[in-house]
Symmetry: D3
Subunit: 246 residues, 6 copies
Amino acid sequence: MKILIVNPNTTASMTRKIGDAARSVAAGGTEVVAVNPADGPVSIEGPYDEALCLPGLLTEVKRGVADGADAVVVACFDDPGIDACRALVPVPVIGICHAAMQVAVQLADSFSIVTTLGRSVPVLEGLAVRYGMAQRCRRVRAAEVPVLALEEPGSAAAQQVRAEVRAAVAEDSAEAVLLGCAGMADLAAALSEEFAIPVIDGVAAAVKLAEAVAGLGIATSKAGLYAPPVPKAYSGTLSAFAPRTP
Amino acid sequence: MKILIVNPNTTASMTRKIGDAARSVAAGGTEVVAVNPADGPVSIEGPYDEALCLPGLLTEVKRGVADGADAVVVACFDDPGIDACRALVPVPVIGICHAAMQVAVQLADSFSIVTTLGRSVPVLEGLAVRYGMAQRCRRVRAAEVPVLALEEPGSAAAQQVRAEVRAAVAEDSAEAVLLGCAGMADLAAALSEEFAIPVIDGVAAAVKLAEAVAGLGIATSKAGLYAPPVPKAYSGTLSAFAPRTP
Amino acid sequence: MKILIVNPNTTASMTRKIGDAARSVAAGGTEVVAVNPADGPVSIEGPYDEALCLPGLLTEVKRGVADGADAVVVACFDDPGIDACRALVPVPVIGICHAAMQVAVQLADSFSIVTTLGRSVPVLEGLAVRYGMAQRCRRVRAAEVPVLALEEPGSAAAQQVRAEVRAAVAEDSAEAVLLGCAGMADLAAALSEEFAIPVIDGVAAAVKLAEAVAGLGIATSKAGLYAPPVPKAYSGTLSAFAPRTP
Amino acid sequence: MKILIVNPNTTASMTRKIGDAARSVAAGGTEVVAVNPADGPVSIEGPYDEALCLPGLLTEVKRGVADGADAVVVACFDDPGIDACRALVPVPVIGICHAAMQVAVQLADSFSIVTTLGRSVPVLEGLAVRYGMAQRCRRVRAAEVPVLALEEPGSAAAQQVRAEVRAAVAEDSAEAVLLGCAGMADLAAALSEEFAIPVIDGVAAAVKLAEAVAGLGIATSKAGLYAPPVPKAYSGTLSAFAPRTP
Amino acid sequence: MKILIVNPNTTASMTRKIGDAARSVAAGGTEVVAVNPADGPVSIEGPYDEALCLPGLLTEVKRGVADGADAVVVACFDDPGIDACRALVPVPVIGICHAAMQVAVQLADSFSIVTTLGRSVPVLEGLAVRYGMAQRCRRVRAAEVPVLALEEPGSAAAQQVRAEVRAAVAEDSAEAVLLGCAGMADLAAALSEEFAIPVIDGVAAAVKLAEAVAGLGIATSKAGLYAPPVPKAYSGTLSAFAPRTP
Amino acid sequence: MKILIVNPNTTASMTRKIGDAARSVAAGGTEVVAVNPADGPVSIEGPYDEALCLPGLLTEVKRGVADGADAVVVACFDDPGIDACRALVPVPVIGICHAAMQVAVQLADSFSIVTTLGRSVPVLEGLAVRYGMAQRCRRVRAAEVPVLALEEPGSAAAQQVRAEVRAAVAEDSAEAVLLGCAGMADLAAALSEEFAIPVIDGVAAAVKLAEAVAGLGIATSKAGLYAPPVPKAYSGTLSAFAPRTP
């Protein structure tokens, strides 16, 4: 099985970290291909960046599935563009926030999330509502670290994340904690051990869910929201994205 | 007051119809500027088109506000990119679906929606949940007419929309009906009269709400979700979109 | 356009303040008529006062619409009697709590409310549920000032309101704050500026919404909840309220 | 124990029927006093009538508790004025809609409601939301019979109610049916037997709940929403309603 | 009327306390029979104990109804096995958590719960969701006292419960407090008086509700979830539990 | 990896079918062990059977984990005893209803469920609420076939299931269908192909999720609801179930 992981920002060091996290949990027969777009924001922090990562994300998803991917993971915790990706390709598409939440509620009754910046808190609260997890999500906490600070050796970012995990346990009575940024993938194991509760990295959760869903041999439903794009013209610089008649 | 209306698809005839609908309800002192992007899909039908209208939409919003717009209306009933637009500019940004729902619940206890294609039904059901309108929305109905069929003189599209409005009254006991596509803006008045209930066009609703909110002189909150984009690099063909330090 | 604003308590000084707040945001062509009933409570603090303001409120609404009002604003943040008013008259009827919430979610993702007395907290929490705003409303806070203290020059009431607005920003991460009493209408602008987030007065919000909805030329739906009262006898001292055959 | 039942409309024949229904289920030691106001609508059909029954209702509640009632039942299925009554008096106040729903979910997993007119459907749907019963309430059905038709011997009203009960069983898979008008109190037993499911009359349910709650010897909480009315002046014809300092 | 109260754990001293609490509120003509199973856990703390109390509970319910009980109360605040009991017997079956919540919302707008151990907090939060009480339940608090500590004379358990009741009033603005364990039945009256709000014991609430519902003469609906068990074989040591053809 | 699948009823032919379905989707390195209890109901149809399958289920789970299982699947679509199992053992425990719903929302926006008997409809509706899937679940349909009819060669059961799947597509616009009984595991593939939408068998979904969650190497949280049972005595015939001090 071949799983395509798209980091929808353009920072290659983060893509490598995500790929490593993915491979560390992938099953024996799973090939992990981790890519990022050439075009778009270097990090995704809030809805403006999220909107503008989409052309690059869709380009990579289309190419990767054409190259034989059996499932796609979108490796940004805001789950950008999931519906568009599902409409574009027949194989399962998994967002890392949704995956982390689904795994969490198999292991714990409630969870808190630790994300990067305060502006992402309402984004993740909104996803919790959309995914039917509002009753399970105790609190979304911001460590107030920029995404790319997680890439800098020696930064205080990891310690700030740890402080919020500690607070989630102590103040929220959370039974599990989700790390709300793909760039935190390397922190989960140590935090899980230190706090003796599940600390869940979305990348790892999504890789395993992708293996699971693709392993069932069932394709994405094309009967409604995820029907293939209607063939039509696209104008100007985006004409290459125009959906073709199948 | 100057209101910028962005039709996020690239079909100029639809932009003209939207502009006409807007001007027909605008207050005396309101200037309406209706535009569409040069780049992107000719119509928006489902989440793939919705994702790829965003660069064009954001370009028009940025330019229009730089040119003095006091408020922005995004004229697609899927409300694409609203959060990104709100982060990008300080003036109020109004989506036509949200506006139509807000007006509806001031005039009626419940409503149904008539949209174009079946694939848009779950999109609008999702917006109803997000906007806290799930209890008020009786049913989302698809007339199964492509968006651009609404632009063709002599097509059966208007009759199909009318049939669904009739069904909403008879079967859903809806107290009001929302027309779920900006391309239906010219049908609202006649249907309102025929069925003796509010039949609400989102473009008109959004123009009046934009006047209302902008008239209060309060800007979009920059304290959380709508904080200005963090200054950073954007790679490749999207570098011109990179947020600048203010 | 003529907008009738009914302060449903009988304190004339408060009616004047409300009228002034309304006129300060009304459009050029809008005539604002602010009235209060002759009969009923001098202030509305809790459900008992709310019940007994209704005969006076309905009397004023009926008279004002007969005198040509194009829309009605009910200027008490508990939104008393809105459904009864909508059944009684064909023109739009707007409550200031609902209006403030609708404006808030066009400018911010979440809000807190600062009201007068603790007993009003559950009233406003209940309205948030009814209006589908429970997910958006972070917290309802009571400044613990009686309504009429807001009318006394030199009282500490304004400072207590300000302290709760500050707490809403600091503790609730609210992106906007609603002032939960028509008597706070004169405080909004200064608080908005001081705290650099939208601080929304319901009277102003409702006037602009009333202009918006009435400007669409659509009357209240008479197809269900807001059908005209069934003609029937009323006994005793209330016989003058008996609905007539149209 | 003495239970005051207030029929908030002014139709004495209906008050007698309600009193009979109450006495038929009351415990041995329970005295039932059924009254109606002298002033107000002859029937309550929609929010306008509901608003104007309140002065009469509050008058009767105050008098009845002063005369020694240990609990109060408000016998209109729209549950008008419950919060105001609870603030006014210390003894438990029970609405018949809330009571019927509470009894229903002790005997069945879901229920439908059969009410009088279509305009009451959204009222009862709203109460289901407020009472946390939205998931349990399959459907609210209108028999389209005026309230007072239930008082006319030989009218078809009872047959229309029966037809809707049958439909609730057949089409809604409802496990129980609530009769949504105090004037249907005499129909419950026969319908229960005919359809072999609980058919619940709100008056009977409320009498038994009133006995239960009053029997616990716990008064209404005065710590928040139901705090006694703040002492203040009432103007004009309503001055007799002014709350006094205790 | 004869009410069977089943304490689903096997601690006889607790059964006696529960029986005493029940008799102290029962009506004159009510006979209270309080029993506990011979087989099962000595206390119920968490879902494992809850699962294994069910055979004993069902045995007692079947026997008690065969012996003439008119209603059944299950006296554990986790409401274990209620649906199974309702399917097994025709008479009303009342859980003490559901009963306490129903009584609370007749006397107060919101409540908090004080339970024994932290592991029970999510159980009760889950019941609040299931019973439609999530909006009314401010907070579930754990006194961190084992169930059987409530049986030990001189233990600090009662003081720890009292401290949490105090916190519910001060920090949660709860208008009422529910005691979340049948073993706290003897504490309610004194706490109610001390804190001047309703402090509700579930056993007492359930006894009064059982009298109320049974007094209506309506049996549990057998039309859906509570249909009698399908006759079938049970294997091995549980064969005596096999449902018989009626 | 070793996955224990417990069919909580005692019908061995159904256990074999479940085991076959599990092995047909298990990964190369996964060992599937399918067992059923010796004691308990021969099929689970409604809450009474569900309660009495628990001792047998817990016995098998404890033994299977002692024998080295890395994850547990409970193969009854009512998800009986999941919380108790999670408290009892440290490895992940997956219910087939929850698993099927989680997989469904990765492949489709909405789904319907086809179950066996009408009495199971409210059970599954309740699980949809508990799992946050109420907005996604269009309808729960009963094929009205007893569980064991699915085991009889030549019965009409499969055709009745197929008829409801067809209705779910045609009437509910469901984008996917869940088969709501472990005994339907062998029907999913053919129905998926015939109706060209995902038709999901819970056993297969749960096996893949179990591989996924166990593959992450994270154990069930012991910080709250799933804390190990408190060591204590169990009386009488259930004494062997008494939790021991670890």
